[in-house]
Amino acid sequence: MPKSHGSDIDALIQLLAKLPGLGPRSARRSTLQLLKKRDSVMVPLAHALMNVADTVQICEVCSNIDTHNPCHVCEDVRRDRTTICVVEDVSDLWALDRSETFRGQYHVLGGTLSALDGIGPDDLTVDSLIGRVRSGEIDEVILALNATVDGQTTSHYLAEKLEEFDVKVTALAHGVPVGGELDYLDDGTLAAALRARGSVSS
């Protein structure tokens, strides 16, 4: 073990190296940067980390992760309360929200059904989704799950579960990405795009 620095700093490097996208080398660089910018970055970062660690919780309505409960999305009065967009994971919620095209509510499932991995409906937030739909405020449920085999199975499952309620159930379209060239698309995507073709309105 090189003795260029003490074990406290080493512990910090080890912890940083556990973060996604950071390896041992970038963890060492980040640590060095923190040490050099002790007052402007390191201390505020430590405070922010403590602060969020104390207050972070899972939203009891939509299972989003936030420092408030219900979360900021569920509390936001300017948002449309009649549509729910169902996503697999919080990262999907963030992705959709970054696009700023959807102004309704979200629901984070926490995964997809997979008998092979032993994940059933009880392991997902299906019951709370049905509870929200049952409350009667909702007009439309948008299923925004991944276009994988498991994601599509889960979409189908939810659609069937929601059949008994008076809501419109929709799913994201599959097909040609914006700015995409047909030549580069795989056969499955092209077939899906052809199946879901629409008329061009003038």
């Binding site: 008998a115 092979l116 409906p121 599509q152 189908h156 069937e160 056969d187 499955g188 077939a191």
Partner: protein, 394 residues
């Protein structure tokens, strides 16, 4: 027999190998084979166990999948070698030369080896890239039992052929099987307590992927039947082809895909109890069989003699190669292992002529050079013995 000029003037983009290098592959520590490429046929002769089939196996790795022996990747490595292996080829498609390399690197931790593929010096993500610009077809002695074995090997044979025309087919079949395993597991573990909506979601996926795969199989079988029909009454018997499957049958009878999909879902739903106790689905494209018959005799292939079965199989493989040549403008590289042994002299010569006129290179193996008499001056010969390959005339 096609001579040199006629061969190069074929419209097809000929696929052939001009150089093959093997490193720690089966019995070969390091071997290089250079070909003159002035004849479409390459003949490897040598005693049993000399390593003839190993050469064909190496060539079969120039296609996606598990090679013609379907071995695990680590079994291919030379015994008492370092555990890695490589097969590299200069592959010509028409006038363009493509450098293709594949193999595995040593895996110290006992992890499963991943097949590496390099095309023109660039690492490819997976072996699918090997199916884009050329294809490889083969016939091995293991396939001689195709008609008398259970349906699963015929289904695999069929699906591999279908893949030649419909690249999406393996994805559909793979997704179908995966969802089916999920349903089997759910039914086996939870029986009638299983969530009905979950089962019906899985069944809907099974139906969607199953229909897509069934349509591809039918479409392919129709095309292949047309090709078989075109073949003149040569030395190989006309083969009749039928796909025996509940879903394929329904579609062939003219049921619209949408209705067939619904019917399949209902059938699965009704069969849940029984499927749960058998822990497998009783109906679906995983039970489909390929039925082949000897047309002139109107006899099922499994009732034909060994020699006739071989002739039928050759007819199928040839028809498929011609179909690919017609539809894609290039015939597959053909690997025919010990194909001459079962055939009488007339059929043997007719087979050599048919293979030579396909358009792409064709590799043949045999224990005895006399099996290939009549080919002198029309093929490249190599003698294989003890892991060494020597040219042995033209």
């Amino acid at each position: 027999m096609t001579d040199k000029n006629a061969w190069s003037s074929l419209e097809h983009n000929r696929v052939f190998i001009s150089k093959l290098t093997l490193t720690d592959f089966r019995c070969y520590q390091h071997t290089q084979l250079k070909l003159g490429c002035d004849h479409p046929l390459v003949v490897l002769t040598g005693p049993n166990g000399a390593g003839k089939t190993n050469i064909l196996e190496a060539l079969s790795y120039m296609a996606p999948g598990r090679g013609l022996r379907r071995s695990s990747l680590t079994d291919v490595a030379r015994q008492s070698g370092p555990g890695s292996w490589a097969a590299a080829a200069d592959l010509m498609v028409g006038d363009e030369m493509i450098k293709v390399g594949t193999g595995i690197e040593p895996t110290p931790g006992g992890e499963t080896a991943k097949r590496l593929v390099r095309v023109d010096g660039e690492n490819a993500q997976n072996s699918n890239v090997l199916g884009e610009r050329w294809s490889v077809g083969w016939l091995t002695p293991q396939m001689d039992r195709l008609f008398i074995e259970g349906p699963s090997s015929r289904r695999r044979f069929l699906d591999r052929l279908v893949l030649g025309l419909f690249p999406d087919h393996s994805r559909q079949v793979g997704a179908y099987e995966r969802v089916m395993r999920e349903r089997n597991k759910l039914l086996a573990e939870q029986g009638n307590r299983a969530d009905g909506a979950w089962l019906s979601a899985l069944e809907a996926r099974m139906a969607e992927h199953g229909i897509a795969a069934a349509i591809a199989r039918l479409e392919f079988a129709g095309q292949l039947a047309g090709q078989l029909d075109e073949a003149e009454d040569g030395p190989f018997p006309k083969a009749l082809l039928a796909i025996d499957g509940w879903l394929e049958g329904m579609l062939a009878d003219g049921t619209a895909p949408v209705d067939a999909e619904l019917a399949f879902r209902e059938r699965l739903k009704a069969g849940r109890m029984a499927d749960g106790s058998n822990s497998r689905a009783n109906v679906g494209i995983h039970k489909t069989d390929l039925v082949v018959a000897h047309a002139p005799k109107n006899m099922r292939a499994d009732l034909c003699s060994t020699g006739e079965q071989k002739a039928l199989l050759v007819a199928l493989v040839l028809a498929n190669a011609k179909l690919q040549a017609a539809l894609k403008g290039r015939a597959p590289l053909m690997l025919m292992d010990e194909v001459a042994a079962h055939l009488d002299i007339d059929r043997r010569i007719a087979l050599f002529e048919a293979l030579a006129s396909l358009g792409s290179q064709c590799w043949l193996t045999g224990t005895d050079k006399s099996l290939f008499e009549g080919l002198s001056g029309k093929a490249e010969f190599f003698e294989v013995s003890d892991g060494k390959i020597q040219p042995s005339g033209r």
